[in-house]
Symmetry: C2
Subunit: 209 residues, 2 copies
């Protein structure tokens, strides 16, 4: 921080937060974000840009920003992506402009990212608040992946191996919340508590992009 910043309760300035919900595959990141959306929790929910074509029912600007390959490459070239990755051969990434605009309007910004992506954001925006969602045990995580019925057993074993590696990066995060099976509401409440407490810090975080 370039200058010493202290929150003045008599003259409160609101410093909007950049909140990243992350954690291994199967841990419940989507459920947490969806629950916050259902509650109309007052944050800007980041919309990811993708170069893949929309699927039936998907709405531009709601589910994704659908952009052409050329447009996507221009975003990369101009360093206008907060984070990007290639998923199944298609580009996915988070346009900085969207985040900048929301923060400038005083709104907190919330995004859901894999562990790798969260670490990238932390490097670009050290004042981002990184929340690592975790299962209470590897057995529970395995059980959840099996209940999704989307992966074969070898795929599940592969995801668990990745989860083990992701757990090694926990020290790059700020908070860890254990999303215990069938306690989604408590997990969401805890995420909200973290956001509200961060807004009470005497030395607020300040995100610049």
């Amino acid at each position: 921080m370039d200058e010493k910043l202290i929150r003045d309760p008599y003259n409160p300035l609101r410093y909007p937060l950049l909140i990243v919900i992350s954690g291994p595959s199967g841990v419940g990141k989507d459920s947490v974000v969806q629950q916050l959306q259902k509650q109309n929790y007052p944050v800007h929910f980041v919309v990811t840009a993708t170069s893949r074509p929309p699927r039936p029912g998907e709405v531009h600007g709601v589910d994704y920003f659908f952009v052409s390959d050329d447009e996507f490459e221009a975003l990369i070239r101009n360093a206008e992506l907060l984070e990007h990755a290639i998923v199944y051969g298609q580009h996915k990434g988070i346009p900085k402009q969207q985040v900048r605009e929301a923060l400038a309007s005083g709104k907190d910004v919330l995004m859901r990212l894999d562990v790798q992506g969260a670490a990238t954001v932390k490097r670009m925006a050290p004042d981002a608040v990184l929340v690592f969602l975790s299962a209470s045990s590897e057995e529970e995580l395995a059980e959840r992946l099996r209940q999704r019925h989307t992966d074969t057993e070898p795929q599940i074993q592969c995801r668990l191996q990745i989860a083990r590696e992701e757990m090694q990066r926990l020290d790059e995060f700020d908070y860890v919340v254990v999303n215990q099976d069938s306690h989604l509401d408590e997990t969401v409440d805890q995420v909200i508590r973290i956001i509200k407490s961060e807004h009470c810090r005497v030395h607020p975080r300040r995100v610049t992009l």
Copy 2:
């Protein structure tokens, strides 16, 4: 910190917190602590030691630890007080042993201190969580002091001057919570959110005394 410590969600160790509720006179510190006690919030509420005699109805070990002048001086001599002050000619202080025992049993410890005392605790225990309670304006604080009907107007002006000086020490605190008039429940909820969020830190605070 001597070693890098990371909370492991698969093998959670609980690191008890030392929480200090502070702020200017009249801001509502006592009300917040009393409300937490009424809710049976699971922390150890610190009992202050004093060398003054008990008033009618006061119970040893509940309202205060009543000790003799000699006993009090022994506590000071042996550096067994976390913080102490002379109030109206009588000693008041917080015995370390009580805090140590509660922390050792895994319990969070909560105490209410004036701003000076809170800063002393932070110097002895840098990992303590310091919460500064504030009014939303100086006018509101003045109004509250008047409503207590315990001070003359010059005394109130003196308290406001001290409050101004105490506000200058805000940067020594971790969190600031504005205790808005007639929103005590929200203030108490915010204190609880801070405690619960602190328990989710990837790099937990560790208090040693």
